[in-house]
């Protein structure tokens, strides 16, 4: 069965696929590695995905996934996407998620609703969060005027949630962000501070959350490289970089570590 999936992915790849992603995951506690394959097949406004993730040495945890999404275009100021994806593992675990994004003029909204059983989304696809059970995540942006953008986040999951609102003020090429949020209840509050600026031919951005949530995020992007670093307390760190067709992410916290290296092979025109 497992071999059949892999064979099917590789056979389908040259037919109409836009990209084929190969990844190598490693994580703990302990040590296991997970070769992963993601095939993306576009068909007009539709795009279909197929995923396969092995788990070594425990091959019972191998998982398969399928996804479909449709994009909508509405001129220079608008676009949207609706889709769903589902994963199933060999030892009775699954993850399903529906998602929708829409941008139209001054407003943008993004909604994700999902459910995982027996494993976190991370298990099925790296860096996808560690919620178990049902969850919903709503993000929205509204441009009050050309220099001011209001952003909001509402994240609800089994056992808790988080809400955040921030205002970004663009002055010439710099953007300053100020906001506030709360975890589970309003008294667990934290402040949000952000700064983004061009530097030579690159963009530098920093975002600080202080209070109940303590987190510093740094981002760098130029035409060739993108990199990000997150440091948080209680102790958690995440670092990532992407260049050309490669991307590398690593995360560590009190529960273990995760490392994911991936290569995306464009297949357009094959």
């Amino acid at each position: 069965m497992k071999k059949l999936w892999l064979l099917a992915l590789l056979t389908l790849a040259p037919v109409a696929a836009q990209s084929l992603e190969f990844g190598l995951w490693a994580g703990g506690p302990g040590f296991s590695i997970g070769p992963t394959v993601n095939l993306e097949v576009p068909a007009g406004p539709w795009a279909f995905d197929a995923w396969l993730r092995a788990y070594l040495p425990n091959t019972d945890e191998i998982s398969f996934g399928l996804g479909a999404r449709r994009s909508f275009e509405a001129g220079p100021a608008g676009r949207g996407e609706l889709g769903a994806r589902g994963f199933i593992g060999m030892d009775a675990h699954y993850w399903v998620e529906g998602f929708g994004d829409a941008t139209f003029g001054k407003a943008a909204v993004s909604l994700r609703v999902g459910n995982t059983y027996n494993r976190t989304p991370n298990h099925f696809w790296p860096l996808q969060g560690d919620t178990i059970g049902t969850y919903g995540r709503l993000e929205a942006k509204y441009r009050i005027q050309r220099e001011l953008t209001l952003a909001g986040l509402l994240y609800l999951h089994d056992g808790g949630g988080r809400a955040e609102a921030s205002l970004a003020w663009r002055h010439e090429a710099q953007t300053y962000t100020l906001g506030a949020g709360g975890v589970d209840r309003a008294s667990n509050a934290y402040a949000v501070l952000g700064y983004k600026t061009p530097y030579q031919n690159a963009i530098l951005a920093a975002q600080l959350r202080l209070g109940y949530l303590n987190e510093l995020r740094l981002q760098y992007a130029d035409r060739t490289y993108k990199a990000h670093l997150t440091l948080a307390y209680p102790a958690r760190a995440q670092i990532g970089a992407s260049w050309s067709s490669w991307a590398l992410d690593a995360a560590v916290d009190g529960g273990g570590y995760e490392f994911y290296l991936r290569y995306t092979m464009p297949l357009e025109g094959m």
């Binding site: 836009q18 220079p76 003029g105 050309r146």
Partner: protein, 218 residues
């Protein structure tokens, strides 16, 4: 004899008159001389049917067939821009910091009610049969000698407009105003070309995007 001469003169008039194709050739030659930048100001109709104030900056590098259209107004489009190259059309959305890339043949930028990626090339619209042009007429546009040309789209569903009118500076051979109409005769866009100037940018200056933007390929 006099009558015969008058008849001959009348018959020869169409041959002496400037055709729209020849006029657009002259415009193309004038615009192809080097990089240029112009500001388009006026009104456009949003997909919702509402007319909105429009303010766009167009940057053109004819030698490379690259055009960059930067939106200043309406507010909903401010800071978005579209870059058109012979192979691809790039649509940058400021709010989500995304660049959506389309193959040129698939790109139809519908926000203005018609295909924005082709509006600059009047000559091509005629060559491809999307517009049948009337003969240009001499007029004065804002105290400036100009040509006025009217074109009709045989298939409005395909072209996205039914009729268009263009005013062209007779001396400078560059557009002064373009108006696109729908099948009911309502204007889809009415844009005046202002602040026209020669520029000195390169392809790299036009085909450039924020380095931290997310890329979406279509």
């Amino acid at each position: 004899m006099r009558r015969a001469l008058a008849l001959l003169a009348l018959l020869s008039l169409p041959a002496l008159a400037l055709s729209a194709a020849a006029l657009f050739d002259q415009v193309a030659q004038a615009l192809d001389q080097g990089p240029w930048e112009a500001r388009l100001q006026g009104r456009i109709v949003a997909p919702t049917g509402d007319a909105q104030e429009a303010d766009l900056i167009i940057k053109s590098l004819s030698a490379e067939q690259v055009v960059r259209i930067e939106f200043q107004k309406p507010d909903a489009m401010a800071d978005n821009y579209v870059v058109i190259t012979p192979e691809k059309v790039y649509n940058y959305l400021f709010l989500t910091n995304q660049v959506v890339v389309y193959p040129r043949e698939k790109a139809r930028i519908e926000g203005l009610g018609f295909d924005l990626s082709r509006m600059g090339d009047l000559r091509k619209l005629g060559e491809e049969g999307q517009v049948v042009w009337d003969a240009p007429r001499k007029v004065n546009y804002k105290n400036r000698p100009a040509w006025h040309v009217v074109g009709r789209a045989p298939d409005p569903d395909t072209s996205g407009f039914a009729r268009l009118e263009v005013w062209i500076d007779r001396k400078e051979k560059r557009p002064l105003r373009t108006v696109f109409y729908d099948a009911e005769g309502n204007p889809l866009s009415d844009l005046a070309w202002t602040a026209f100037r020669a520029a000195s940018f390169t392809k790299g200056d036009l085909v450039t995007f924020p380095p931290d933007a997310e890329w979406i390929k279509k």
